[in-house]
């Protein structure tokens, strides 16, 4: 479909006797933010690398922006932050970006470089060599490289792994801005709270297979009943949402002292742990 940014059908990768990824079938609409989740070794990075053309599939196929994966012209329209981000430590951040701008054949390179440096908060240190950067700053540079050239789709493989809480918050805000601009975001992350906050949909892979896919609400399940905090602690009550006011009124009539009420809904983390069998 023309509105799909990514279409994968039966995508698979086998290294010798090990299946790194089996039968990945998914669609990501343009402008959508997909959270790609899974435990270590689930095949997440392999999937991302196949979608950006770094790893050749051993089965199935995929299209990115309507072209087969690896298409050279299409690569000018995507941005990629690898999990193993590393940039020449003898170059300054601005030089790294200038190099990538030349690879992208950007005609207005200087303003584009300034813009992405500002976007990731690196403008002040842009003239310093990468070798003098902290790991978090290098990750910010990686994000700047991925955003250069206003890509239509951005693959972010663990974009906050080296960042402090402030940096993580910055990246969340950055992803929100990308979504607002209509950029498709493929977010590969371990941080479930992060995914829950910014992603439209989630795909969970485990041992090379997709084990669940859908919106965050669909995965975590609609709220079923409420949890009520009384003097002696939390209590769960099974009732339909429309019956919650009556339930609370009844408890008050019976003399209960109510401190708090919240939907009895599992978190993405609960669901994730159940799916990957590690609960």
């Amino acid at each position: 479909m023309p509105d799909d940014a990514i279409v994968a059908h039966g995508l698979a990768k086998r290294y010798g006797r090990i299946d790194a990824l089996r039968d990945l079938t998914l669609r990501v609409a343009r402008g959508e933010c997909l959270g790609f989740l899974g435990p270590n070794g689930a095949g997440k990075s392999t999937a991302v690398k196949m979608l950006v053309g770094l790893v050749r599939p051993t089965g199935g196929g995929a299209e990115v922006l309507g072209k087969p994966v690896g298409d050279r012209a299409t690569r000018a329209r995507i941005g990629y932050l690898p999990e193993l981000f590393r940039y020449p430590d003898w170059l300054a951040a601005r030089e790294v970006l200038a190099f990538h701008a030349r690879l992208l054949r950007l005609t207005e390179a200087a303003p584009a470089i300034d813009a992405v440096l500002g976007e990731v908060g690196l403008r002040e240190r842009a003239g310093d060599r990468v070798g003098t950067y902290s790991k978090g700053m290098q990750q910010r540079l990686g994000l700047a490289v991925a955003l250069l050239g206003a890509p239509e789709i951005v693959f972010l493989d663990e974009p906050t792994s080296a960042l402090d809480p402030v940096g993580r918050s910055d990246v969340r805000a950055l992803i929100e801005r990308l979504r607002a601009r209509g950029t498709t975001v493929f977010l590969n992350s371990h941080l479930l709270g992060e995914v829950e906050r910014v992603c439209d949909r989630v795909c969970v892979v485990d041992r090379g297979r997709v084990v669940a896919e859908g919106t965050v609400d669909a995965l975590t399940g609609a709220a079923h009943g409420v949890r009520v905090q009384l003097d002696d602690g939390w209590h769960a009550f099974d009732c339909a949402p429309a019956d919650v006011p009556d339930l609370i009124a009844r408890l008050v009539r019976e003399g209960a002292r109510i401190h708090a009420v919240e939907p009895n809904q599992s978190t993405l983390e609960d669901r994730f742990l159940a799916l990957v069998n590690h609960a």
């Binding site: 290294y15 690398k49 950006v52 053309g53 770094l54 790893v55 050749r56 050279r72 012209a73 690569r75 000018a76 995507i78 941005g79 990629y80 932050l81 690898p82 193993l84 981000f85 590393r86 940039y87 020449p88 003898w90 170059l91 190099f99 990538h100 030349r102 690879l103 992208l104 054949r105 990686g142 490289v145 991925a146 693959f155």
Partner: protein, 286 residues
């Protein structure tokens, strides 16, 4: 276009990492040491009289050949140690991932790294070798028969080692690729000696073995070209006489330049090995 970009990146890295500065300092030190030694030779007094000019030039010719021999090993090691990391380290440390996600052909990266290293080696040969030859001429008055040919042959040998290192580094770690490329240069030199011995003794099997090694790794053919370009006519005649009588084998003298077919083979070898390296790189999962 992208090939030039990666070649430029390779050269910039050599400058920024201070390799160029370190090599320049060492070259000046070596040339200075040679100048001191040659000066001592030119002003030496034997039996109460200075050495005659023809004698000084003959000794200088021998020294130039010995220096060229050592220089060829420095070039080979330099080429292997520059080319292999230029290609393999960016793969190993992940630098290449973000680059390859751009509209770039893997062949452009390999060719750019190759071209950058070959240019660096050629510049080093021209500057260091040229400086050495100028110092020899200034102090002893000796000029080899074909100095520019000799430098070109030495740079060619460096290009052969660079090609092997780049092709190997497309699949192997930097250290392994560099060591194997440098070892192949040494083996090719030994192969050349074996061929000389075979020819001198009339042993066809030995000669053939040496020829096969020269075909597998053609750096020794280029070294012999440099040797022929550096040795004065009297050395060539002496080598021809020794070969004819079967009395001696001298690995530092040759009787003829490498045949054009062998030079064509060396060029074809570079193209073929580079193409094989690119093919290996193109099919590598990263």
């Amino acid at each position: 276009m992208n090939v030039l970009l990666f070649a430029g990146l390779t050269l910039r890295e050599l400058v920024r990492r201070r390799l160029v500065a370190a090599v320049a300092l060492l070259t000046v030190a070596i040339v200075g040491f040679t100048a001191w030694g040659l000066h001592r030779l030119a002003t030496a007094v034997v039996d109460g009289a200075p050495i005659a000019e023809p004698g000084v030039r003959a000794v200088a010719a021998g020294i130039v050949i010995m220096l060229a021999f050592l220089f060829s090993f420095v070039i080979a090691l330099g080429a292997a140690l520059v080319a292999a990391p230029a290609m393999a380290e960016s793969i190993a440390n992940g630098e290449i991932l973000a680059v390859l996600a751009r509209p770039v052909r893997r062949a452009e990266i390999a060719l750019g790294r190759w071209a950058g290293t070959v240019v660096a080696i050629a510049l080093y040969v021209a500057v260091a070798g040229g400086l050495e030859l100028l110092v020899v001429r200034a102090i002893t008055g000796y000029v080899p028969p074909h100095p520019l040919h000799a430098l070109a042959y030495l740079a060619g040998a460096g290009a052969v080692v660079t090609t092997a290192a780049i092709a190997l580094a497309a699949r192997l770690p930097a250290l392994a690729a560099g060591i194997v490329a440098a070892l192949m240069f040494g083996l090719a030199w030994i192969g050349g000696i074996v061929e000389s011995i075979g020819l001198a003794l009339g042993n066809a099997r030995l000669a053939d073995a040496g020829t096969i090694v020269a075909l597998i790794f053609p750096s020794d053919a280029l070294w012999r070209g440099a040797l022929y370009a550096l040795q004065p006519a009297i050395f060539t005649a002496a080598a021809a006489n020794a070969n004819a009588s079967g009395t001696a084998v001298n690995p530092f003298s040759v009787t003829s330049p490498p045949p054009p077919m062998l030079l064509a083979w060396a060029c074809g070898w570079i193209v073929a090995v580079l193409a094989a390296g690119i093919a290996a790189f193109r099919t590598r999962d990263l």
